[in-house]
Symmetry: C2
Subunit: 225 residues, 2 copies
């Protein structure tokens, strides 16, 4: 999913509604996303009990609004509405057809740090054809902790080696491989915008590497048809 474009779209609507000028919605989305890993890290480190990603997104939104020096006190229901922008992301252009192709041969689903409601709402709106939805509030562990990967395989009744993580982040694949999963890298060169500098290539000999999800789908299904 193209989180940056989707979040920026909803941020712009929020700014318009409140008559706020001079804030770039993409910068705002990037600042919001920059707080994602540190917020989860407190939970990974045991400094904080598990809370779902929606809770972290809301806290992080408040922090970004504060650091943006926006004067208005916003009603809680409007902050929640904007928080659920993360439930309303659009897929990359190739996502749905590629998922459908893979799904003809495999059980598919997200293994996401998003919570189940976020993922289910996103899939419902976008038409993502998943067989199962495993959110972080199902396993109550945030990736890249090993238990996130092994618990997912366990819930599916599969050995880790019978499960493949397809991801656009090399660090996610490093952790998946360490837990025994198969790995596929898919390039998402503009996830972080036009000047992205991370994850522009496979950083290891992943089992599959694709320039698009369609490319990954073709490699996964050619031997099976």
């Amino acid at each position: 999913m193209d989180w940056r474009t989707g979040v920026a779209r909803e941020v712009q609507a929020f700014l318009d509604k409140h008559g706020i000028d001079g804030v770039d919605p993409f910068d705002f989305a990037d600042a919001w996303r920059a707080r994602y890993q540190p917020a989860m890290q407190a939970i990974r480190d045991g400094r904080r009990d598990f809370v779902p990603l929606d809770v972290l997104h809301l806290e992080n939104l408040r922090a970004v609004l504060t650091e943006s020096h926006l004067p208005t006190p916003f009603p809680p229901e409007e902050l929640w509405q904007l928080t659920t922008a993360w439930h309303r992301l659009d897929p990359w252009p190739d996502s749905i057809a590629a998922l459908a192709a893979i799904r003809r041969h495999y059980v598919i689903g997200p293994l996401s740090n998003g919570n189940l409601a976020l993922l289910v709402n996103m899939a419902k709106r976008a038409g993502l054809p998943w067989d199962a939805v495993i959110g972080a509030d199902v396993t109550r562990v945030y990736k890249p902790q090993p238990a996130a990967y092994t618990a997912a395989a366990d819930l599916l009744g599969l050995r880790p080696s019978a499960v493949m993580l397809v991801a656009a982040h090399n660090s996610d694949l490093v952790a998946a491989r360490a837990s025994g999963l198969a790995t596929a890298f898919v390039l998402r060169a503009t996830e972080h915008g036009p000047h992205q500098r991370t994850d522009l290539a496979a950083a290891a000999d992943w089992d599959v590497t694709g320039a698009t999800l369609s490319d990954v789908a073709e490699q996964l299904t050619t031997d099976r048809s």
Copy 2:
């Protein structure tokens, strides 16, 4: 899903493979099912830690084989194969069309005592169009314990009153209502075979009552279209 027919079909195949005569596969399925509630009760009562339903099904299968005085020692992999008969149930004739109709207006999914793998494999084989799959190994609580219902609503990000349980068992609906969920009864008059004596009618004023799932779907979607 018509568990009795599906399980009996796989039991018959197992008996045929081992050249066993004189065992009625429907009686066998009934005996296997009779151990379902007592097995979960040990966990509900705290006499046993949570284990997924596949584990209970395997234990119960061994018990039924023993009480059936079948002499053969069966290989573990064949017992596991038969245990997963519960992953390969066929839907009632109206199930898929009715689910698809409801799904056009609502997020749908099972709230089952089955484990996630059982449910996902069943849906994959039968083409059940679920948005989310909440197995008992996700909440780690067996219905009708209240937490099974409230945890499901929580995972969906919904107040209990925004969630409806559609069930063929009045006892399930009693517990769902006690936890604040909306309720719909659907008649499945031959779930336990041609001589069924339980759950032949709604036992309370459930929010919706239907003679079929299609009937329930029509009532749920008429006001919304």
